[in-house]
């Protein structure tokens, strides 16, 4: 098993782990963290492929995704805080009414 395959498998595992976490955990904060895990899995695969093809644009894209991820957290956490302030719980089931 060479490095590339190993890294790709790792990224897949990271993603799967994240997905399982999002599905099974019932805590919004933890789910958010697992979400980040999934994103990192994807980024890892992106890096690997960039390395493989030698495309500089890929590296730029990785940074772009980092920025987006940071921005996402920056928005998601305040929303979460606001939610908890009104709902007093981190269980997502309590907020099903938000579907509109």
């Amino acid at each position: 098993m060479d490095d590339t395959t190993f890294l790709l498998a790792l990224s897949g595992m990271l993603f799967a782990l994240g997905l399982v976490g999002v599905i099974v955990r019932r805590n919004l904060l933890v789910m958010l963290m697992f979400l980040e895990l999934m994103l990192n899995g994807v980024i890892l695969s992106l890096v690997v492929f960039t390395q493989m093809l030698g495309a500089e644009a890929g590296a730029v894209l990785v940074f772009l995704v980092f920025v987006v991820a940071a921005a996402e957290i920056a928005i998601a956490v305040p929303i979460l805080l606001l939610l908890v302030r009104t709902g007093r719980t981190l269980d997502p089931g309590a907020y099903a009414g938000l579907k509109g």
Partner: protein, 626 residues
């Protein structure tokens, strides 16, 4: 002189416009001057034009006014054509028309819509002149529909009465059915000949280049138009109802002029009919049947105007009988004499109604001859004329018709003559019955009506006298000979003068028999008539019910069409099938959306599961197909 015919046509139109637009404001005197003066002027112009025609030896006068439409190589012109036939018609229309306008001054006096009445009457004259003077079938058709409009407006003149408005509508619709046939005939001729100018059409058909089939089809289609306008079976139903209009209107439009338009049409298109023996036979048969059946109905009617209406239908049937056996000029001759005596009869009836303050039921009349002598006398003359007593007008024309029905080489037959003679007997019978019940015998009037019986004012009686005089002398003009260059008499199957004389004597005997029968039945208080009525009660009911034609039409045509429109078109078609499927589709879309909306639960875990599922599905798909 150029422009004469145009002037003739436009004079009544001017009357219509002036009276229609300004009449209400300018008062009855002004309305009289315009509404009666212009038709009189038109009569003068018609006489003038006729003298020019005669000065030219009968060579037709043609006036092209303007080109209505030019489509490709097809030219549709508005042009007028005066030959002896249209001259006779124009003289009848303007002459009788002017007389009836004068009569109307007395009859319509004090009506709140006086100006409107004269405007409509002038409008009618305008369209009628278009009809008889038009050179092309198109112009004729414009006049044809136009007189129908005038008739519609005048029948429903007192429109507040729903029945009268309805009668007008019935007349219009029935005529429209005929008009559809007319249009088809016109289209067929146009397709076959390439023009609508009637003189050219006649020439083309006479040239023998057109197949008999087309001539027959065109002839029958045009005749369908004629049955509508001239109230022949099966489109006769509107004319009795048309009596809802003012009586002078019945005299002018529904007796003397408009209803004879069909006769004029067939005579004018004689070139077509000469090539179409089958169509001619049809005309003769329909005409005779109409004459006979209408006469039987007239026997039992109790409304004075309805009797005259059925009498008109019957006399028109006689004219079509003549047309059908190729005696076109004779038909026009009868048209000519009929115009006078029938106008006299209707106006006389109007005078009676006027005297009795609106009463029309002859069972509540009687003994009027001494109270309104002028009316009675003129009515008697006209009655004798229509019954065919010599030497009055009807005798000559009816006798000629019967002679040609027997002897014409173009479809004359014994049974035509026989049934025609029976009808002539019935004519005398129902007319003298009418005279007897109205003017002779004891008075059956309500006392308050009887008190106020009065002779009509001079504009009415003077017109009656003039018409009565013409009812006497109109038969002395040898109209068939005058028209012979245009409409030659048909060949005879046998030319035996003795037979002709014998028939004449027989015809006189028939008329006298009718008179005597009426005297026997209705003299002496009409007891014998009542006995017969009771004896044949069922037949009487059928006749009084006018053979139930109206009811049959309602069952077979009117109600099914309404049913189809309402149930099939509206309820089934529009509401259930079209809107139903549309609403069904809309409902389906909404239902589907509702089902799909359930997926959105709001539970994040559910969403995540769905995402996972989608992911797996995509992966499987990629693995299988990519």
């Amino acid at each position: 002189m150029n422009g004469l015919l145009t002037l003739l046509v436009l004079l009544p139109l001017a009357g219509f416009l002036v009276n229609g637009l300004l009449g209400r404001r300018l008062g009855p005197v002004f309305v009289n001057v315009v509404g009666v003066g212009l038709p009189l002027a038109a009569f003068g112009v018609a006489v003038w034009a006729w003298r020019i025609l005669e000065a030219g030896g009968g060579e037709p006068l043609i006036e092209t006014v303007f080109t209505w439409a030019l489509v490709g190589e097809h030219v549709f012109e508005v042009s007028f054509y005066l030959d002896r036939l249209s001259a006779v018609m124009a003289l009848i229309v303007t002459g009788v028309g002017a007389l009836i306008h004068i009569y109307s001054i007395g009859y319509m006096k004090g009506d709140e819509s006086y100006a409107r009445y004269f405007a409509y009457l002038n409008l009618f004259l305008f369209f009628m002149l278009l009809l008889v003077l038009g050179r092309s079938l198109l112009v004729l058709f414009v006049g044809w529909e136009g007189v129908g409009l005038a008739s519609y407006l005048l029948i429903g003149f007192w429109f507040q009465d729903v029945d009268k408005a309805r009668a007008g509508r019935k007349a219009f619709i029935t005529n429209r059915v005929g008009d559809a046939g007319f249009l088809l005939g016109m289209f067929l001729i146009f397709t076959a000949v390439g023009t609508l100018e009637m003189d050219q059409i006649n020439e083309a058909f006479a040239g023998g280049l057109i197949p008999v089939g087309i001539a027959t089809a065109a002839g029958i289609l045009l005749f369908i138009g004629a049955t509508g306008k001239s109230a022949q079976i099966p489109l006769h139903v509107w004319l009795p109802d048309a009596m809802a209009g003012p009586t002078p209107v019945s005299a002018l439009i529904h007796a003397a002029t408009m209803v004879t338009a069909g006769v004029y049409l067939v005579a004018r298109m004689s070139g077509v009919y000469l090539e179409a023996p089958a169509a001619s036979t049809l005309i003769a048969v329909i005409g005779l049947l109409t004459a006979f059946l209408a006469a039987t109905i007239a026997l039992v009617q109790t409304d004075i105007k309805k009797v005259l209406a059925y009498s008109t239908i019957s006399q028109l049937g006689f004219m079509f009988l003549a047309l059908g056996v190729g005696a076109y000029a004779v038909a026009v001759f009868h048209l000519f004499t009929h115009a006078f005596f029938k106008a006299a009869l209707f106006l006389g009836a109007g005078s009676v109604i006027h005297a009795l303050n609106g009463e029309q039921d002859i069972r509540r009349m009687g003994g009027l001859s001494r109270r309104i002598p002028w009316t009675s006398g003129t009515f008697l003359v006209a009655t004798a004329a229509i019954a065919g007593l010599p030497p009055l007008a009807g005798f000559f024309s009816k006798d000629e018709i019967l002679w040609f029905a027997l002897a014409s080489g173009q479809g004359g037959a014994f049974w035509l003559w026989l049934l025609g003679s029976v009808t002539a007997f019935l004519t005398a019978l129902y007319m003298f019955r009418l005279y007897w019940l109205v003017f002779l015998g004891r008075s059956r009037m309500a006392p308050e009506v009887a008190e106020h019986v009065h002779e009509s004012p001079w504009p009415m009686t003077s017109v009656l006298v003039v018409l009565a005089v013409f009812s006497v002398i109109a038969g002395w003009f040898a109209l068939p000979q005058y028209l012979a260059p245009l409409l030659p008499a048909p060949d005879l199957r046998f030319d035996w003068p003795i037979l002709h004389w014998a028939l004449i004597v027989f015809a006189v005997l028939v008329a006298v028999a009718g008179l005597v029968a009426a005297g026997v039945l209705y003299g002496n208080g009409g007891r014998r008539a009542e006995a017969i009525e009771r004896r044949f009660a069922r037949l009487y009911r059928v006749l009084a019910g006018k053979y139930y034609v109206d009811e049959i039409y309602e069952r077979l045509l009117q109600r099914p069409w309404l049913w189809i429109s309402d149930r099939v078109f509206l309820r089934l078609g529009d509401r259930i099938l079209l809107d139903g499927s549309l609403h069904g589709l809309a409902a389906l879309a909404r239902r589907g959306a509702e089902v799909l909306a359930r997926v959105q639960t709001g539970s994040l875990h559910w969403y995540a599961w769905m995402t996972l599922l989608g992911l797996v599905a995509v992966l499987i798909w990629m693995w299988r197909y990519v």
